[in-house]
């Protein structure tokens, strides 16, 4: 743990730009959060021509093309308006085949944001209490949750960046990905903490830092191997899976990488830092002899 400052710096290298993007551009939220409509359809048209036609009909918030499909994001449309729009498109470009139509009221979006925050806080609260209870010390719980926070920040930052440059939107699935990563991150952290606790019992003479170093060396191989198996699965899904889950899987990939790093190089150094501080302040200073 000699290099703990270096580890924190490395994390900051990703977190700070992420925070910058988040503050500057925010997240590009999908219709799940903002309300509105999304229509995905197949038609034989060029993007430019289609855009011209659509802009006359509805406010176009976004139009993307993938192969021969187009995804249109617009204001909240009713089924009838959606139908009318498709008739309009087909009168110009021929047959339109609707693949997906989603419309979400504005109140639902706010509700989703609220529920997401409550869900994350609740999960974090439960995990903090459980870890603190299992390790008989609140510092383990707090540091594990801080590592979780680290992973959330990285995921949010990356998606803010992707939103700016690749028009990737944050949707309800992203929320699911984030919650999964939170539990994965804690899962990984607990394995290292558990090793510290066990070595502490076996070798009571070792100092805390020595125990930590020992635990980290012993669990690093396992941590990497495990993450690799998950990354194999996710990579296969990302490269070969369907378009609808592509960014969901990508979020999980980022989270797995960050979660693996944070367990060893954030959660543990934080623990050491906490220990240093508490020693610093609990040592009696002036003893009268």
């Amino acid at each position: 743990m000699k290099y703990k400052l270096l580890y924190f710096l490395f994390s900051l290298l990703f977190i700070l730009p992420g925070i910058y993007f988040l503050l500057r551009f925010g997240l590009s939220l999908s219709v799940d959060f903002t309300g509105g409509s999304l229509v995905e359809f197949q038609v034989n048209a060029s993007l430019v021509e289609l855009r011209q036609l659509l802009e006359v009909q509805v406010p176009v918030a976004g139009l993307q093309q993938s192969n021969d499909s187009f995804v249109l994001r617009t204001k909240e449309l009713s089924q009838a308006e959606n139908q009318a729009l498709q008739v309009e498109i087909s009168s110009r470009f021929g047959q339109v085949q609707e693949k997906r139509f989603e419309t979400i009221g504005p109140t639902l979006g706010k509700e989703l944001i609220k529920k997401t925050l409550v869900g994350i806080l609740l999960a974090a609260g439960f995990i903090l209490s459980y870890v603190a209870y299992r390790f008989h010390d609140k510092k383990y719980g707090v540091c594990a949750v801080l590592a979780m926070l680290h992973d959330s920040l990285i995921m949010l930052g990356v998606f803010s960046f992707l939103g700016v440059y690749f028009q990737v939107e944050v949707d309800a699935l992203f929320v699911t990905a984030m919650l999964t990563i939170l539990s994965f991150s804690v899962h990984d952290t607990i394995v290292v903490y558990d090793r510290i606790r066990e070595s502490g019992k076996l070798f009571p003479k070792l100092s805390f830092v020595e125990l930590v170093n020992k635990a980290v060396t012993e669990t690093l191989g396992r941590s990497l191997n495990n993450s690799l198996t998950i990354i194999f699965m996710l990579l296969a899904l990302y490269l070969l899976g369907g378009d609808t889950t592509k960014w969901f899987v990508f979020a999980l990939l980022i989270g797995t990488a960050s979660g693996t790093y944070s367990s060893t190089f954030t959660a543990v150094p934080l623990l050491v830092l906490w220990e240093d501080f508490s020693h610093h302040f609990s040592h009696p200073r002036g003893v009268i002899e």
Partner: protein
């Protein structure tokens, strides 16, 4: 040793049952709308004009009405749920495989119309009926309730009591006066719901419909009548149409991706841990078979994120084994004989495995929201994902530890 063989037989039997369940067509794998195509609607009921005490009843009536309408379209297994909390009364409607969505949707979105119709031309006992509107409608009906008859031969029989408004009582009185002995039909959305015979002129504004009702039949009738008595405008606040081709395409791709990922993981385990890795792979196959069987038995409605959840749990399932094998290597390095090292590795790894998995179980429970707390997520997609995660963690604890341990004790311990 004998106990171990029993355990092996138990595992084999369980696997055989799982394979059987997976092969029997009686247990189909239920797939969600995103996979088979269809329409998902979230309807908001406007309860502004309904007395707060009657709102739950009114929502139940709306549900009945929509179920009737959906049935007309012959939709296979429509899913219609009510969800109400605080001041929001909502209905979730999922229709799979509806071709002409627009028509179905405009029908669903209408407010229910109830009216009473008389059959003036027919003589009592005639075979054919021609019902004509009377001008008495759902607006004149205050409420319908299930009651039990008080006197006569039928004491204790369930009946449906109608309570009219002042205006309605007057109309109802006139209608019953001129229809004694004839049928007075009640129509909902232009479909007859019930056609009772008027026994006498009723001027009091309250009436009972009796017959050989079971309590359930009486309740159903009262709910349908209330749909007219408590008319609730409904509005679509969320709609998702997914075409069937998009769904089947996603399934095919995910299955291919999953198989390739699984193959890579299996190979990786063998390369890293040799024979041990191979046994872990066997446990992993058993894991896959049991999980699939459980999806079919519960049944879990599999959605796209659900498939992703399943694939993710495969990665997590091997984690228990990796923890144990890494531990085993250490114990062997410390110079312990294989049989002792094996037991130590399993014992010591268990602590971390337990704590780590409890954390995952906590998260999945928060996501599944089993108690339906309204401040938490109730989205079907998120829940589907979390449910597969929860099932995955629990089964992987069994296969990753009990199955692998039994296999290793049986086939590897003798070696040393």
């Amino acid at each position: 040793m004998k106990k171990l063989w029993w355990r092996l037989w138990f595992i084999l039997a369980l696997t055989a049952v799982a394979i059987a369940v997976n092969l029997i067509p009686q247990y189909p794998l239920k797939t969600g709308l995103d996979l088979q195509g269809g329409t998902h609607l979230l309807l908001q009921a406007d309860m502004g004009n309904i007395d707060p005490n009657d709102r739950t009843t009114a929502l139940e009536s709306v549900k009945q009405v929509i179920t009737r309408r959906v049935d007309l379209y012959g939709v296979s297994e429509p899913m219609i749920q009510t969800s109400n909390f605080q001041d929001d009364y909502r209905l979730i409607v999922e229709l799979s495989g509806v071709k002409d969505v627009s028509e179905a949707i405009s029908l669903i979105g209408q407010t229910a119309q109830l009216d009473f119709r008389e059959d003036l031309e027919a003589t009592p006992g005639a075979e054919t009926f021609r019902f004509l509107p009377t001008g008495l409608t759902g607006k004149d009906l205050k409420k319908a309730t299930v009651t039990f008859s008080q006197g006569g031969n039928n004491t204790g029989q369930p009946e449906v009591s109608l309570e009219f408004t002042t205006e309605g009582a007057k109309k109802f009185g006139e209608i019953t006066q001129r229809n004694v002995g004839r049928q007075l039909a009640i129509f909902l959305d232009n479909q007859p719901v019930t056609t009772p015979v008027v026994s006498e002129a009723i001027l009091s504004g309250t009436a009972q419909i009796s017959g050989n009702f079971t309590t359930k039949a009486a309740t159903d009738l009262s709910i349908q009548l209330n749909a007219g008595a408590l008319p609730v405008p409904i509005k679509i606040i969320e709609q998702k149409n997914i075409s069937a081709t998009l769904g089947s395409d996603s399934v095919r791709k995910s299955v291919i991706a999953g198989s390739i990922g699984l193959g890579l993981v299996a190979l990786f385990m063998i390369l890293l841990y040799g024979v041990n890795g191979f046994l872990a792979d066997v446990a992993l196959v058993i894991y896959g078979l049991i999980t699939l069987a459980i999806y079919k038995l519960i049944p879990v409605t599999l959605t796209l994120p659900g498939i992703a959840g399943f694939i993710l749990t495969i990665g997590m399932a091997v984690d228990s084994n990796i923890l144990i094998f890494e531990r085993l290597k250490e114990e062997l390095r410390a110079g312990r004989p294989f049989s002792i090292a094996l037991e130590l590795a399993f014992g010591r790894a268990w602590d971390s495995i337990k704590d780590a998995n409890v954390a995952t179980i906590i998260t999945s429970l928060v996501l599944i929201n089993p108690l339906n707390f309204n401040f938490l997520n109730t989205s079907g997609l998120v829940r589907g994902f979390a449910l597969t995660l929860l099932i995955g963690v629990i089964i992987s604890l069994f296969t990753g530890i009990i199955v692998t341990r039994t296999l290793m004790r049986l086939f590897l311990v003798k070696k040393v």
